[in-house]
């Protein structure tokens, strides 16, 4: 059985239709990458998966059951713009554990920070970090609660190129350990490097779903082909 099943999801904001009739399956322990231009609906799709938005119509199943509140914390989203709480890196990373009542979180926090390459950053003021460092804190914060599904919206857009390989390696390791990771990105090269499967979302509709080969290297769909070749304006 697929981990997540989205059936005919529609979502509008006012007069703008963000998602049209989106149906998608997500397999357990895979890296699924959603590619598309800005405004294609990637963020909305992730937010619906994270239960931050409710679809106007359509169904969202998790392990065969309709998704509800209880999934919060099992599925977590790291937004595109890094948001940090006022306080130390430790406080931020520990937040998810704190709200569940974990008292001795020190080990988990240290582990999470190590994974994103921020060892020793515990006492630093989160608000004073660079954009890239904040993004990594956000990821560590999400990892600390050991979610089943990790949703990443443009995770490396703010990070300096030298640090990107480590993050991509991290994604691979997480999936090897059993996590399911969904990444939204408009960086096609990254998509090629990390994905098990790729979804092409354009103007709220899915035009392609499949392996890296079938979507990025030899796209079957005309629109996807234009996108990949850079002929779609965005």
């Amino acid at each position: 059985m697929d981990l997540i099943k989205l059936e005919r999801i529609w979502k509008s904001f006012g007069s703008i239709c963000a998602l049209r009739n989106v149906s998608l399956n997500i397999k357990e322990s895979e890296v699924l990458t959603i590619i598309g231009s800005n405004g294609s609906g990637k963020t909305t799709l992730l937010r619906i998966l994270a239960l931050l938005e409710k679809p106007d119509s359509g169904k969202y199943y998790f392990r065969g059951k309709l998704a509800d509140e209880s999934l919060r914390g099992k599925i977590t989203l790291v937004p595109q713009k890094p948001v940090v709480f006022r306080g130390t890196v430790f406080y931020n990373t520990m937040y998810g554990l704190k709200v569940r009542g974990f008292k001795n979180a020190k080990e988990k926090v240290r582990g999470a920070l190590k994974k994103v390459g921020l060892e020793g950053y515990e006492k630093r003021n989160a608000k004073l970090l660079s954009g890239g460092e904040q993004q990594r804190v956000a990821i560590a914060r999400a990892l600390a609660i050991e979610p089943e599904v990790l949703l990443l919206d443009e995770p490396t857009s703010n990070i300096d190129p030298n640090s990107i390989p480590a993050i991509e390696k991290l994604i691979r390791e997480l999936v090897d350990d059993g996590m399911t990771v969904v990444v939204a990105t408009h960086n096609l090269f990254q998509a090629k490097r990390i994905s098990d499967r790729v979804v092409h979302l354009h103007e709220g509709k899915i035009y392609s779903v499949g392996s890296v080969r079938n979507v990025l290297e030899e796209p079957k769909n005309e629109v996807t082909r234009k996108f990949v070749l850079g002929e779609l304006y965005y």
Binding site: R72, I75, L77
Partner: protein, 235 residues
Amino acid sequence: MILETATRTLELLTNPAVLDITLRSIRVSGVATILALVVGLPIAAALALLNFKGKEIIKSIFNALLGIPTVVLGLVLYILIAPNGVLGYLGLLYTELGISVGQMLLILPIIVSFVVNSIERVEREIRDLAYTLGATEFQTSLALLREAYSGVVLATIAAFNRAIAELGIALMIGGNVFVSGGRYNTRVLTTAMQMYVARGEIEVAIALGIILIAIVFSISLLSNSLQRCYGLDKT
């Protein structure tokens, strides 16, 4: 003229009566600010986080009250708290506490509006973040309030400065009482200034004004540097 005023100011700083008045100004407005925080923070939290009918109207009322003239408030309070008035039994007229309460009412809208505003600014993203990390509604509210901290600091500074610099309430409620060595004095920097101006002793008035401005400025500077130190000025 400038030299005279400068020497006057320095002389005055060592005058015990002036010291008494200055400390009283700080004390009275400080108490007012604390009272305003105690009353205002819960109100602000409720307005920012809860949803109820009339919420927008109440927010607009607080915004409108931001500009209330101190003489108007002072006069209304004088009528209410004079011993024969409706609230006369509280015994607040011509007391320091009376001035504090009056100033508290004056600055309450500042606290409420500032804090509501700073919560609302970060609300969406913090709410989403807390939600996605598994926080309950209550925990999310706490997180929001915690993020509003820099707004609270700014609000406190603005409120204190408004309180210590106002005249209408301190005059009408306090009465500018000053008996040397007396225990019931209510004279503060602003009421002293207006008295000296009325008497034509302009240099003394200016010197007191310099003291007042010095207080207001140094508190603002202190707040600014604290904020930068802790990165609170970055959203």
